[in-house]
Each structure stands twice: as C-alpha cells, then as structure tokens.
C-alpha cells in the first residue's frame, strides 16, 4: 500500500488556477516519473505547489491512496483519466475533478467546483459537500456526457447536473439547480431534494425527483401514480419534443402556467 500526502503550500497569486491532471494513483507507481503542474502559463514541479510525502510501495493503482490537504479549491483536473486507486480531498476541490475517470474512488470532503466527473466512464466519486454546475456532464459540442460510474453528491448540485447523461448514475442528496438531466440519453439521475425544469429534451434514461420539480416542462405526459421504495411518485414520459422515450418520477411538481 502506498500513501501519498499532498499538502498545498501557501501561494503567491493564490487565485490563479493550477492544473494538476498528473495527480492520479497510477502515476505514482513510477518512481522515476516527473510530476509537472501548470499555474497559468508557467509549468512548475509538483513540489512547487505541494509538500509531497510518499510512504510505502504499490504494485497497482488500486494500492495507491492520495490525500490532498489544504486549500485545493483552485486546483483543477485532479484525478483526470484515473483508472483505479483512491484520492481523498480533505477540503474543496477545483474544476474538472475526475474528468474521464474510469475506475477507483475520489472522495471529496468539502465542495467540488464545476464539471465534477465530466465525461466519466466508470469508478465512483463521492462529494460530501456541494457540487457546482455541470456535475457529471459532457463537453461542449459532444453528444454524450457521462457514460458510466457513480457520482454521489451529499449536498446540493448547481445547474445542468447530468447534462447529456448517457450512462451511469448520479445521486444528489440535496437540491439540484436548473435543468438537471437536460438532453439526457441514458443512465439514471436521482435528486432527493428539489430542482427546476428537469430533463428538457430527454431522449432516454431515467430521472427521479423526490422533492418538488419546479417549472416542470409541459411536454412530459403524466402517466399516473406509482411507488418507488414505498414513496408515492408520479411517472412522466417524455420529452415529446422528440420521441418521448425517457421517464421522470416526481413526488411534487409545479408548472409555469
């Protein structure tokens, strides 16, 4: 087992974003590897940004656990393309955490900035705080977003959560913002709290809203009541802007009439 502790150093120009996609468990398997990060247009060594402590040995990514300490709220792309092992982030994390991730676990004890788990293929992300916009979404111009894996957000999510979702599962324990699951194609999006305008232009997949869906879109057809885990919900099919092959379950909904 290898434990890597990365403690963020105090920074000059602390608001400039740092891109650190080199931080994945697999990369620490190679003792010869140089770790470069970018702060603005300057390429720096990992040690310019972090105090690095490495203990133990590992043969596979699964045996590597990385802990990020300190203020990492401006550090982007941590865990990008991660395929195994574990990353624990003790406080907040910057944008694009877990992009393209295909395996392993990322645990965020604070909040996550936007594009958490963008285009994720597999693995698991748990965010104990809130996630900003576009959690589990896609990239500009691309038809499909997240395709597999699980994102679980214990707090609230911002707007466009699960945009173009095409597989996998997103669970939001708090509220979601506007337009969760917009252009969803497949996969499952669960919102334990409230949200507005879920699943516009839905082409497939499933969305469950256990609070109130505000400004519910009028192009979903009410298919009557049913139950999920003993909770009475209303099932909707839609979106009838296209073929109506998706399903939304909601406990309450309100329309903008």
């Amino acid at each position: 087992m290898m434990r890597v502790i990365l403690e963020v150093k105090e920074q000059l120009k602390p608001n400039l974003p740092i891109e650190a996609e080199c931080i994945t468990p697999k990369n620490f398997l190679d003792p010869e590897r140089e770790f470069h990060v970018w702060k603005g247009n300057k390429e720096l060594d990992l040690t310019d940004i972090f105090h690095v402590r490495k203990d133990g040995n590992a043969k596979s990514a699964e045996q590597v656990e990385i802990t990020i300490r300190g203020d990492s709220s401006h550090i982007k792309r941590v865990g990008e393309y991660m395929d195994g092992g574990k990353i624990i982030i003790e406080h907040d994390i910057g944008m694009h955490c877990g992009n393209f991730m295909s395996g392993g676990l990322i645990e965020i004890r604070g909040n996550a900035d936007s594009w958490l788990g963008r285009e994720m293929h597999g693995g698991k992300i748990i965010c104990h705080g809130n996630a900003m916009d576009y959690a589990g979404s896609g990239y500009r111009g691309e038809k499909k977003g997240m395709r597999g894996g699980l994102i679980e957000i214990m707090g609230n999510a911002g707007d466009f959560a699960g945009e173009t979702l095409a597989g996998g599962e997103i669970i939001i324990h708090g509220n979601a913002g506007d337009m969760p699951g917009v252009d969803i194609k497949d996969g499952r999006l669960t919102i334990m709290g409230d949200c507005s305008r879920p699943c516009g232009n839905m082409a497939g997949g499933e969305c469950r809203v256990f609070g109130t869906a505000y400004d519910m879109l009028p192009t979903f057809r009410n298919e009557g009541p049913t139950t999920i885990d003993d909770v009475t919900v209303t099932r909707f099919s839609g979106d009838y802007t296209s073929r109506g092959l998706g399903t939304i379950y909601v406990v309450n909904c309100k329309y903008m009439d």
């Binding site: 990239y139 500009r140 111009g141 691309e142 038809k143």
Partner: protein
C-alpha cells in the same frame, strides 16, 4: 537569388515522361533551372522518391463553410491539438483543422498547391482571408455559380455570351479560379426548401433544366478561355440509384476543348450508387468507369471514403438536409442569397455499416476501373469522404491488392454481394500514383503552363522528397512503408524554399493566390451593364460597390489573364 541543388534524386515526373531516373535538380530563385554553380544549399536525396509537389484539385480547407465546420465542432478541435513550437503556430482539429493545421499537415505530405472546391462569391473575402493564413501552399478557389440569378437568367434568355460575361465578372470580382457548379439548379430550389430530381426537371422560377445549366456553363466557360474546365458536383449526390443521373449528365457533355477536358466531375464515388433505396444500395462504379473511359473529355476525382469520424461540408444544401434526416446529427445550413447554398454535418463512416463499406469500395473501384490515370484523380473531397491526412492510406490501397483484401475482410459481411472490388486485380504503379496525386491535377487545372506539376526547367520549384526507396520497396507488399513514406516527406520544397523537413515547418512559404481575369468586350462587361447593376443593388443585401475583393486581400498572387471570345 537563392540557389538550391537536390542531388541524386529518384525522380518520377509523368508530365516530362520521367519514370524513375536518378538525377540532380537545380533551383534558382524559386524556379527549376538547368544547373547552379556553388549552390547556397545542397540536399542529398539519395534513395528518395522525388516528385513534383502534390496538388489537391478538390478540397475544402478555407472559407465560410469550412470555418463553420470549425466553429460548430469543439469536439473535433480537441481531437488534434498542438502548441506553438519554434516557428510553427498552434493548431487544432482533426477533420476541420485550423488554417495552420491544414497548411502544416498538407506540407508534411508534400502538397504544395490546393484548390478550394467551393467558394460562394459573396463570401469570397473570407476564403481569401484564410488563404493568407495557409502559408505553405499556393491557393486557388472555385467560384460557385449553380444558383447564380444573373447566370440562370442569361441561360433562360438563351444568351450564352451574356452568361460568359456574368461568369467573367464574378470570377474577377471574387478572385476565383474556376467555374464550380454544385447540384446545379438544386441550390436555387433549396431557397424554398425543394431540390431537383435529376438533370431534366425544370427548376423553379427560371424554368430551365440542370442539363441546360451544365451545357451552357461549359459553353460559356470555353468562351472565356479559362485554364480550367467547368468543375461539376452532379445533381443527386449521395442518393441510391443516382448513377443513372450521373451517366445522363456525362452523355450530355460536349467536347469543346482540345487541350484539356471539358468537364471535371468531382467526388464521383458519391455519384456512383445503384439500388432504389438504402436496402438494395450497391456499387455502379463499373458503369460510371465505362462511361468515363469512353469520354476523353471528362476527368473525374474519386471522392474516396475512409473509415472514421469526419465532417461533411458542401454547397449542396438540400443534400446535407437529407443527410441530417438520416443521421440526426447536428446540422448547419447556410443559403447564400442569389448564388448558392451550403451545409455542414459531422459523420462517422463505420466498417460494419454496410452502406459505408460499399462507399469505401466504390471509391477504390473507380480508381482501379478508370483506365487512364490522367483522368482519375485521387481525392477524398476533403473532409467529406475523409480528412486529407488519409491520402497515403488511399495510395497504399490502390497499389496493393493484398492490403485491399486485408481491409475488405474487416468490413460488413454483406459488402461482397454489392461491390466487385475483390475481383479487381489491378495494382497501381508508382508512376500512376504520381499522376493521380499531382500531374493529372496540374493538367486538369491548366496549371502546367504556369509551371506546376512537373520538375522541368522553368517550372516552379515545388518539390516533395519522400523517404521511400523505390528500389527496395514492393508497394504490393510493403503497404505500411507506403503509408508512412507518403505521410511525411523528408523535404517539402515550396518555390525553392524548404518549408517542411520531417514534419517541422517554417512560417512562410512564398505562397501565392492564383486567380483568373477574363477580358471581355465592353458589351459583356457587367461592371458597366445598367440592368446588372440595378438588379444587383435591388436584390442583393450588399452594394455592388462593396462586392469585389480588392488586391489587398490576396497578397502575393498570380493573375491568370485570358482573352475571351466575346
């Protein structure tokens, strides 16, 4: 007065009938000369295949619709990004790269001259702006006339001389090179969401048929004595059964020029389809090739499809709408008032898709079934059939039956029932590949007189030196070496300067824009024709005074002046 000597080059230069001779090439001041004393630079090309610079006679690399392809495709952009390196600017994109991306990648493959296949004259300024940032190739642009109101009006009125006058004005005003027709009549019908079925159906408003448009345009084109013939994208592109329309079109083409073809028929693969629907879709390459073989006044390019992601883009607006209905992918359309249309759609050609597999086969069948390589040009209609970076693979497929069979085995199982490709034994020679990638283009475009496409004295020193030793390479077996060798030159030389060395490019290549300026008599000079001027200012949304492209947009350029017979 810079001089360069290329020693021991293994030269294939079909225009000069040189088929594999080891020789020296001397260059002075951008031109090939007999000899140079104490050259400033010497390149030893021992054991390297040396050809005239490649010419792409039908590619979409600059202008409104190409840039719309970029604008709408961030997902394509991220597929191919490089940072600034030395003198090379950053690039991005795979199927629609940035201008620098196009220029560097073409240069790497030894291409030194590019013809933009379709330029709406109203938006020509845009095309020329992009030419400026395509620094390593000479650039030319075909001007679109398929739905030009003044041209169609002249045809309706039966006044071919006036038609020629209209073509002359627009060509000069747009700084264009040749007359391009894309789905003639169809783009005008598309103005109200309609299309034409083939060449015999009258088009809305003007009541003339595509057949008349094509024939009269060819007549007018020849009246102007233009270097290039009419460049035609036939009606009915991409529809099952369209080969009949293509054959009808070919039968209607008059033979009016004894120096070159009277018609350049482009991306013929997309026009060689049998069947009555996608269900019984099949190849009719044999019928098309037979017709072409019988008609020495027609030159084609193949419009090869290769597998993978790409972006389709054409002035053929209605065709792109059909494609959108088929694929449900994002669809852009851009009608250009009084002139033409255009559309852009991303596609992915898949080996396991029967239709795609048949399309791939048809392109190769055409390359193998047209007897005369001078009349069968290798192109993918970049990026419609595939991005141009796939050219080396197309060359290898044409040169090796073994490679074709290997690829064919990976296609949809039913492909063999719809095509004849596996039965074709022909394997193209080095000389034939050289013809199909530069010499035939130079001749078809009428550029030989301007020093393009050969390595003789007085020619432009556009030279591609490939790390391919012909003596030790058997193209029928060593197709990997063919692909690698044609993918990256040892040297690409533009006007006597090395512009690319093993993929590393220099910032400037002394490139030029070639455009035509036909001189017509005052009677047919539209710039002083009051009917033309009045209608122009009434129906266009910009003033005629603001339409022509000034010379400040074209920088270094070659004006090809012609004396028209009107």
């Amino acid at each position: 007065m810079k001089t360069l000597l290329i020693k021991n080059a293994y030269v294939i230069d079909p225009i000069q009938n040189i088929n594999g001779e080891t020789m020296d090439i001397a260059v002075r001041d951008g031109k090939i000369v007999d000899d140079v004393k104490n050259p400033d630079e010497v390149i030893d090309a021992q054991g390297m295949l040396t050809l005239p610079g490649g010419i792409d006679s039908h590619t979409h690399f600059s202008g409104t619709k190409v840039n719309f392809g970029r604008y709408m495709s961030p997902e394509d952009m991220r597929a191919g990004r490089t940072s600034r390196k030395g003198d090379m600017h950053a690039t991005a994109g795979y199927s629609v790269p940035t201008t620098y991306g196009n220029s560097y990648r073409y240069a790497k493959m030894g291409y030194t001259t590019l013809l933009e296949g379709a330029m709406a004259p109203m938006e020509a300024r845009h095309t020329h702006e992009e030419f400026r940032y395509t620094p390593l190739q000479d650039c030319l642009a075909n001007t679109l006339f398929d739905g030009n109101w003044f041209a169609l009006q002249a045809i309706q009125d039966g006044d071919i001389k006036r038609l020629a006058g209209v073509l002359a004005w627009y060509l000069s005003a747009s700084k264009g090179f040749g007359v391009k027709l894309t789905n003639p009549g169809g783009t005008e019908a598309w103005g109200f969401g309609k299309d034409v079925s083939c060449i015999n159906e009258p088009i809305p408003r003007f009541g003339i048929t595509p057949r008349e448009i094509i024939v009269k345009m060819i007549e007018a084109n020849e009246m102007l004595n233009l270097p290039h013939s009419v460049h035609l994208h036939c009606n009915n592109l991409g529809k099952p059964g369209n080969y009949m329309c293509t054959l009808d079109t070919y039968d209607a083409i008059p033979d009016l020029n004894d120096k070159r073809q009277s018609l350049y028929s482009t991306h013929v693969q997309f026009h060689s389809y049998g069947g009555s629907s996608w269900k019984d879709f099949c190849s009719k390459a044999e019928d098309i090739a037979r017709s072409v073989n019988d008609k020495p006044h027609i030159v084609i390019d193949t419009g090869q499809v290769m597998f993978g992601k790409t972006t389709t883009m054409t002035a053929d607006g209605p065709m792109e709408f059909n494609l959108y209905r088929l694929y449900h992918n994002k669809w852009s359309n851009h009608d250009v008032e009084m002139e033409t249309g255009s559309g852009v759609i991303p596609v992915q050609y898949k080996k396991k898709n029967l239709v795609n597999a048949i399309m791939w086969s048809i392109g190769l069948e055409l390359g193998l079934l047209v007897d005369d390589p001078w009349r069968c040009i290798l192109a993918t209609d970049n990026p419609n059939g595939a991005p141009f970076v796939k050219y080396p693979e197309v060359m290898a497929l044409l040169m090796s039956k073994e490679y074709r069979d290997k690829e064919f085995a990976t296609l949809h199982k039913s492909t063999g029932k719809r095509v004849i490709l596996p039965s074709l034994e022909r394997e193209l020679t080095w000389n034939e590949i050289a013809i199909m990638t530069r010499s035939a283009q130079a001749r078809a475009l009428g550029l030989v007189d301007y020093g393009k496409g050969y390595l003789g004295e007085g020619a432009e020193a556009d030279i591609a030196i490939y790390p391919i030793d012909v003596a030790t390479t058997d193209p029928t077996r060593d197709y990997e070496r063919i692909i690698n060798g044609f993918s990256s030159t040892e040297y690409t030389i533009k006007r006597g300067e090395v512009v690319c060395r093993r993929g590393t490019c220099t910032p400037e290549g002394n490139h030029a824009t070639y455009w035509v300026k036909p001189h017509v008599s005052p009677k047919y000079d539209m710039s002083t024709d009051s009917t033309f001027i009045d209608d122009f200012n009434r129906y266009y949304s910009i003033r005629m005074a603001n339409y022509p492209i000034g010379e400040e947009y074209i920088g270094r350029n070659v004006c090809m002046e012609t004396e028209a017979s009107i």
